[in-house]
């Protein structure tokens, strides 16, 4: 440590001597580079000021007393800057700690999402879900029950970040406790509503859309808890209609009934589930219209579901200059044959 200080002293002395000789930009450039080295070695502003004075006293004869004395004042002022600098360093370390804690939490959260491949010949399924920050308030789910029915869901916690993410994991655990017999959309939402109502703050809400596809007869049943309406595409007419069902958001009231709708999916028909992060994407400062999302899907009807959702995400991400304002989830379920 002391050796290092001695060598810093010598370097600074050489630099200052050379600068006083020729006043060159080159010497100043050296000083700028040297400051990085000083910071690397944890040299504080007050030590730097003190070193400057000692070096100066060393190379200049007969320094006026006022000059030397004036450094007392400068030193006193620099102590404050030195403290601010050290505090900054310690806050930066703390920030890195928080960041890595958050990374672990975000990783845990991702493991809550399903990741298995869907192997139902009649189905073409794709989903993309991207958080605005590290943690997501969106949740999606898909699963095949014992009878071979395929369940899908998208939920959106009102709010973002860590609190939203914690509520989201509650939805996941609550869903895990449901039995296959309960996989009827209105029943699922009713029981989730009870869990949410009991377990989260009054000022937090969760919206959700839940649907089940029956491969035997190709009916799709769904219910919504105040969720952003999805879309239903019919290949025969080449039209999109809004996918809506009446129902209150989860967590407001303990006893809520959810309307259940059913649709027949013919080959080529599909349903789209999404979170409001999709419809609230802003392009040039304006919310995009649901119609624009329909257009984006329509341009890609020839692709498979996963490609469609990926491309739409990429396009909207780019249009927003890679700054998502809200968690983004988009899901497509298409009957192939």
């Amino acid at each position: 440590m002391e050796d290092m200080k001695v060598s810093m002293y010598q370097l600074y002395k050489d630099m200052l001597t050379s600068y006083l000789e020729d006043k060159s930009e080159h010497a100043l450039y050296h000083a700028q580079q040297f400051s990085k080295q000083m910071m690397e070695q944890d040299m504080s502003p007050e030590e730097t000021v003190s070193m400057h004075l000692s070096v100066f006293q060393d190379i200049a004869d007969d320094l006026p007393e006022e000059v030397t004395d004036s450094f007392d004042l400068l030193l006193e002022v620099m102590i404050g800057y030195g403290l601010a600098y050290r505090e900054h360093q310690s806050l930066r370390d703390r920030q890195q700690e928080l960041e890595s804690e958050l990374n672990v939490a975000a990783h845990m959260q991702r493991t809550l999402l399903p990741n298995k491949k869907i192997e139902i010949d009649a189905l073409d399924f794709g989903v993309v879900s991207v958080p605005a920050g590290k943690m997501s308030g969106d949740y999606y789910h898909y699963d095949i029950d014992d009878r071979g029915n395929f369940a899908v869901a998208v939920a959106d916690v009102i709010g973002k970040g860590v609190p939203a993410a914690m509520s989201m994991s509650m939805i996941k655990y609550a869903m895990d406790t449901l039995t296959d017999k309960q996989m009827q959309p209105s029943v699922v939402l009713e029981s989730l509503n009870r869990v949410v109502e009991r377990n989260i703050d009054d000022d937090m809400f969760i919206t959700m859309m839940y649907g089940v596809y029956h491969p035997d007869d190709h009916y799709f049943y769904f219910s919504s808890a105040g969720h952003e309406p999805g879309f239903f595409y019919t290949a025969k007419d080449d039209t999109f209609v809004s996918l809506e069902a009446k129902g209150l958001v989860l967590g407001v009231s303990p006893k809520v009934r959810y309307e259940e709708q059913k649709l027949k999916l013919d080959p080529g028909d599909f349903v789209v589930f999404l979170s409001d992060g999709v419809t609230e994407s802003r392009v040039n400062g304006e919310f995009i219209e649901r119609e624009q999302i329909v257009d984006m899907i329509r341009e890609r009807l020839h692709m498979d579901s996963q490609e469609i959702v990926n491309e739409i995400y990429e396009q909207l991400e780019k249009a927003q200059e890679f700054q998502l304002r809200d968690d983004f989830t988009l899901m497509i379920l298409r009957r192939k044959v």
Partner: protein, 133 residues
């Protein structure tokens, strides 16, 4: 007999007197100019805290030696309201963001050893030592 000085803090003059006494002793013990300024700043902050939050109290400074090392000890004591949440006041960014200066984390950084005892409604005693290197 090692040097000991008491300064009563009940006005800004007291703060200046404590600084002066601290700087003088630091110089006598042999601290360099940077450490003198650090010790003085620490005394200043401790004395200001007394003045601002407890109205009055005392700064004691003394020469210490242990294990062949020489140093200087500052003891700041008051019978003021005490500190309820010590962990909070020792947190970076807590006091400084309120514009209260270096705060206790700053004093801790300026010195080598630091300890604090505080009892609500009873008062606070802060002890800090700087060792000569």
């Amino acid at each position: 007999m090692q040097v000991q000085t008491h300064v009563d803090i009940n006005s800004e003059w007291g703060i200046v007197a404590a600084r002066q006494a601290g700087r003088k002793l630091a110089r006598e013990i042999g601290f360099g100019s940077v450490d003198q300024a650090r010790i003085t700043t620490a005394i200043s902050e401790l004395a200001r805290n007394i003045y601002l939050y407890a109205n009055q109290g005392q700064i004691k400074i003394e020469e210490v030696s242990a294990g062949g090392k020489q140093g200087m000890k500052i003891i700041a004591s008051d019978e003021g309201p005490g500190i309820k949440d010590l962990r909070r006041v020792m947190e970076d960014g807590f006091t400084t963001s309120g514009g209260l200066g270096a705060g206790l984390p700053g004093v801790k950084r300026l010195m080598d050893d630091f300890s604090i005892e505080s009892e609500v409604e009873q008062g606070t005693v802060i002890t800090a030592v700087k060792w000569l290197r």
